[in-house]
């Protein structure tokens, strides 16, 4: 049984390592205010696209950058610079999740997740 005991200890050690490392490295969900107080820490910020402002995208200057405004769940509005080309349907999104850091007054996102309207919410059925 001694070998198995050794293995058991190894397993527990690996498990602890995983938990510690992942807790150290994972980002948390936050709002803009929290992200501002910790610039250079990466956060996931959930919010809604501000549709009153047009999305700025100059592909000839930089095809991988666009900017828009977003309000987080607490209602704070900030300008976002996304380091990717704009996702195809961003104007239709119900909710977006940005992954990035706050720099000055802008949130620099390197990734974005979008939640589009649920398929149960759209229009009336077709009558032939």
């Amino acid at each position: 049984m001694k070998k198995l005991h050794l293995l058991g200890i190894l397993i527990i050690a690996v498990a602890i390592a995983v938990i510690i490392v992942s807790l150290k490295n994972t980002t948390t969900y936050a709002d803009f205010t929290e992200a501002m107080s910790n610039p250079d820490t990466e956060y996931h910020v959930v919010g809604k696209l501000d549709k009153s402002q047009a999305l700025v995208y100059e592909p000839k200057v930089n095809a991988d950058e666009c900017s828009f405004n977003m309000t987080d769940n607490k209602g704070v509005l900030k300008q976002v610079v996304l380091h990717k080309s704009p996702p195809q349907d961003i104007e239709k999104s119900e909710q977006i999740v940005l992954i990035g850091k706050m720099r000055g007054e802008q949130f620099h996102a390197n990734d974005i997740l979008m939640k589009c309207p649920s398929k149960y919410n759209d229009g009336a059925p077709k009558l032939e």
Partner: protein
């Protein structure tokens, strides 16, 4: 709402379907109790078998009814309405069947019935029939309940696929339902266009058959614990287990192939929760299958076998919970809709854990008390709340009980396994698989843990999974390389190591030389990450060469006996293919500014896309590309991109055209679908990241100039038009001595503008600022080739700046696309590995069945 007399509704169909559902549920319940009794009293077997047959037939009936409704367009039923339409091709009818939640549960239940039918005939009159079928019946009770859709107290039990549209809470308020004969006018919403491909027809049924098959080793393990016959079931369960490994593995790989072919995240595996939660049960099933072999041979790893066999099925239930309960909401782009079945699914998982632990207890009294206390805790949680605390307490207590039972009651091996024995290495392998599964499960379950602990950790990026999985992949490869050369019980270390040396040296040679390019990628040098890749390269090659060696030398080339070696070879190829194509994935659309080419876990990964204006040719990687045209077919917009290469005569030569597309999906929004060029040693994979879907070209023919834009600047400044940049080179005063001499109140300043287009061609324009008798008369100038017009209309001598307006012809606004292109090197190694692994597993299954038949003669 007034009582409307609806006409044309075929209510009978729903009633038939519901009758089948109720019968299947009741029959399953009856079968459960009868088989339970039959374990001790054979008289009940007949009743049990009859109940099981009735259950099976009713399940077939449910499926047939639903299929009938879909085929005949009974849109008054919500499931038919939501997932199909009249205009849909009939070849997609099967995809509609399992597109929705209820349909996929039905598919699972159906497969269970099919497998149980075959299994039961094998077990008939044997000693395992009653117990195994009893477990099966219980599983079916739970699955059937997922289709009931009835209400118990306040809680909804399951979700019924046969609800009429007007009975469904989401659709009951639709205005057209107030028309009595709505049924004949109705058309369904149709199948999601993204799912209208052949993958949707083959991937779900294969995957669900795989899930379904995990219940067989589970049922045997439970039966074994129940009967306290811990070592007699492995032999029978083995071929079924490997069948599950084969089918589930193929199902998962199909998902990867589908993603690679049709989705645009740029790969075949994204460590998405849906993917992970089907991979994990497979890994555990593989582990279980291997410890079963040890078990069968010399009775070792007994507890581990039971643990893994039960664990695999529990993980399938857990994965169902994860993907259908909406708990992953923010964590993934998949649309997880909560059908209100979360509580139910949680209870199912917990119930089976309860049964497993209870059966471990040796004493009947202990068992009864454990069950009673657990049920009491459940009620307490329901009534008084504090669900989390009670859950943790119960899980903790159950774990302790399991450990105690293992030490006190569970039969253990007397002899310790030697280090250089096949059993020990297989056991190690299963342990590695289990650990990898736990880590993946942990990361995937972070949203669940968030809910449980009230924290808000974000789930990790795919790169994290890759990093963590590399050491496990290395270990697995090393074990796969050596295990078959080890004998049971004991192998002489020196002989073994000498045997392995050739394969190892070859692997070192190959692996090391392949790793050398890694040194030059990115920031140069060998980081920890790169050492990991190099290590896996060598380990995977080692496993490949070693297993080829085994087939050739030990098995003397007899393929029919080399199932295991071939399967291991396949798996090693998969690891190799995945490693090489992902880590060396070159983004060729990238602006080559010397940045890191690795695509794993990079932060601000800018400059990956290329902008292609219609008609212009740009260099991209080893090619010259031209975006030629855009066309629309239904909801798909296709973008043609030509690829050329410079040939020996230094002239561009046409190679091929790729047509990535964007689907204007009415349900899911715009979905980019890639087009890939397949070569033997690499794939060129492209997809659109941004494009204008408007195919209307009328406005391009407009010859007039658009609105003028004003620019304030100095000499040396640059203006931008849509097709060029324009530099204010200089200002010249008083060009034309003659005019000046005629009238000295004439002032002419000419702005010299130099325009440079995308092909670096230069054009000049000379708009003039003229003051004649104190009146400003600017003289415009045009650059015809670029469709630009300039008017120099103001000078401010104090500020030292000038104001020039520029207008463009409307036809300048050329259409453009933004595209990403990747080269996946050697990705065919991955697909080859999948096929080889499947073949190897199949051969192994056939061999085992053959041996089994010989023995029983």
């Amino acid at each position: 709402m007034n009582e409307i007399n609806y006409i044309g509704e075929r209510v009978w169909a729903g009633q038939v379907g519901n009758a089948f559902i109720v019968i299947s549920f009741v029959a399953a319940l009856l079968a459960f109790f009868s088989f339970y009794a039959a374990e001790n009293n054979k008289d009940y077997l007949k009743l049990a078998r009859t109940a099981f047959s009735i259950h099976s037939i009713s399940v077939l009936g449910i499926a047939a009814t639903l299929f009938f409704m879909l085929f005949n367009h009974y849109f008054e039923y919500q499931y038919v309405y939501q997932h199909s339409s009249r205009s849909m091709d009939m070849k997609y009818i099967l995809s509609c069947f399992w597109e929705g939640q209820e349909g996929s549960f039905l598919l699972w239940t159906f497969w269970n019935v099919v497998l149980a039918f075959i299994l039961q005939r094998r077990l008939k009159d044997g000693e395992w029939e009653a117990s195994v079928m009893c477990v099966f019946a219980l599983v079916q009770v739970f699955l059937a309940s997922m289709l009931l859709g009835t209400y118990i107290l306040d809680h909804k039990l399951g979700s019924n696929p046969f609800l009429l549209l007007r009975e469904h809470e989401q659709f009951s308020k639709l205005p057209m339902l107030s028309i009595p004969n709505y049924a004949e006018k109705l058309n369904g919403r149709g199948l999601n266009p993204l799912l209208m491909n052949y993958w949707m027809t083959i991937h779900p049924p294969t995957l669900f058959l795989g899930f379904s098959s995990t219940f067989i080793p589970f049922a045997f393990a439970i039966a074994g614990l129940w009967k306290r016959k811990y070592t007699q079931w492995q032999e029978t369960a083995l071929p079924w287990t490997y069948f599950g490994i084969l089918i589930l593995g193929v199902g998962i790989l199909m998902g990867g192939a589908w993603a690679y072919e049709a989705l645009s995240f740029g790969g075949f595996w994204a460590w998405d929760p849906v993917e992970n939660s089907s991979l994990v049960p497979w890994l555990v099933l593989v582990a279980a299958g291997h410890t079963m072999i040890i078990n069968k041979n010399n009775g070792g790893s007994l507890f581990t076998t039971h643990f893994l066999a039960i664990g695999s099925f529990l993980l399938v239930l857990y994965s169902t919970f994860l993907t259908r309960s909406g708990v992953l909401g923010n964590a993934s782009v998949h649309a997880f809709t909560d059908l209100g079945m979360t509580g139910q699914l949680v209870i199912y998982v917990l119930t089976f854990i309860l049964i497993s632990v209870a059966l471990l207890l040796e004493d009947d009294l202990h068992r009864a008390s454990y069950v009673v206390v657990s049920v009491l805790l459940l009620f307490m949680a329901g009534i008084f709340g504090h669900k989390r605390v009670i859950l943790f307490f119960w899980l903790g207590a159950s774990t302790i009980i399991t450990i105690v039972c293992y030490y006190r009651f569970f039969p253990k091996q007397k002899e310790e396994e030697k280090l250089f024995s096949r059993e020990f290495w297989i056991f190690l392998g299963s342990l590695v698989l289990l650990m990898a599964s736990l880590i993946i499960t942990y990361f995937t379950s972070i949203p669940v843990l968030n809910k449980l602990f009230g924290v808000e950790y974000a789930p990790p990026k795919p790169g994290v999974y890759n990093t963590w999985m590399i050491p496990f992949a290395i270990l697995l490869s090393l074990l796969m390389a050596g295990a078959l050369f080890l004998k049971y019980k004991k192998t002489e270390a020196k002989k073994f190591l000498r045997r392995m040396m050739y394969a190892f040296l070859l692997a070192l040679l190959f692996g090391a030389s392949c790793s050398i390019p890694l040194y030059f990628i990115g920031d140069g040098g060998f980081s920890g990450e790169k050492l990991g890749y190099a290590g896996l390269l060598i380990a995977a090659f080692f496993a490949i060469f070693s297993n080829i060696d085994y087939v050739l030398t030990v098995m003397k080339g007899k393929i029919s006996k080399s199932g295991a070696a071939i399967a291991h070879l396949g798996f090693a190829l998969i690891l190799l293919g995945a490693l090489v194509s992902t880590s060396k994935k070159a983004v060729i659309s990238r602006d080559t500014s010397g940045k890191k080419v690795s695509s794993l876990g990079e932060e601000f990964d800018a400059k990956e896309s290329i902008l292609l204006t219609q008609g212009d040719t740009l260099p991209m990687g080893p090619y010259l590309v031209t975006y030629t045209k855009k066309s629309r077919e239904g909801i798909n917009v296709y973008f043609n991109v030509d690829y050329l290469k410079i040939n020996k005569d230094n002239k561009p030569e046409y190679e091929f055209t790729l047509v990535p597309r964007i689907q204007d999906n009415p349900i899911m929004g715009q979905a980019a679908e890639p087009d890939t060029r397949h070569y033997l040693n690499r794939d060129i994979y492209t997809h659109i990241t941004h494009a204008d879907l408007n195919v209307d070209t009328a406005h391009i023919k407009d010859k007039a100039f658009g609105d003028a834009k004003n620019y304030i600047g100095h000499v040396g400044d640059t203006l931008y038009s849509s097709n060029a940049l324009i530099v204010i080179d200089s200002l010249r005063t008083n060009i034309g001595q003659k005019e000046y001499e005629k009238n000295d109140s004439l002032l002419i300043v000419t702005a010299v503008l130099r325009a440079i287009d995308a092909q670096s061609r230069t054009y000049k324009a000379y708009p003039k600022y003229i003051i004649k008798n104190s009146v400003v008369i600017p003289e415009e100038d045009l650059i015809e080739e670029l469709g630009l017009k300039f008017v120099f209309w103001k000078i401010d001598p104090e500020e030292g700046h000038v104001e020039i307006t520029m207008s463009e012809k409307a036809s300048n606004a050329k259409d453009f696309i933004v595209m990403k292109a990747f080269i996946f090197p050697y990705i065919n190694v991955l697909w080859l590995g999948c096929i080889i692994m499947a073949i190897g597993t199949f051969i192994a299954i056939m061999e085992r069945i053959r041996k089994f038949k010989l023995q029983s003669k």
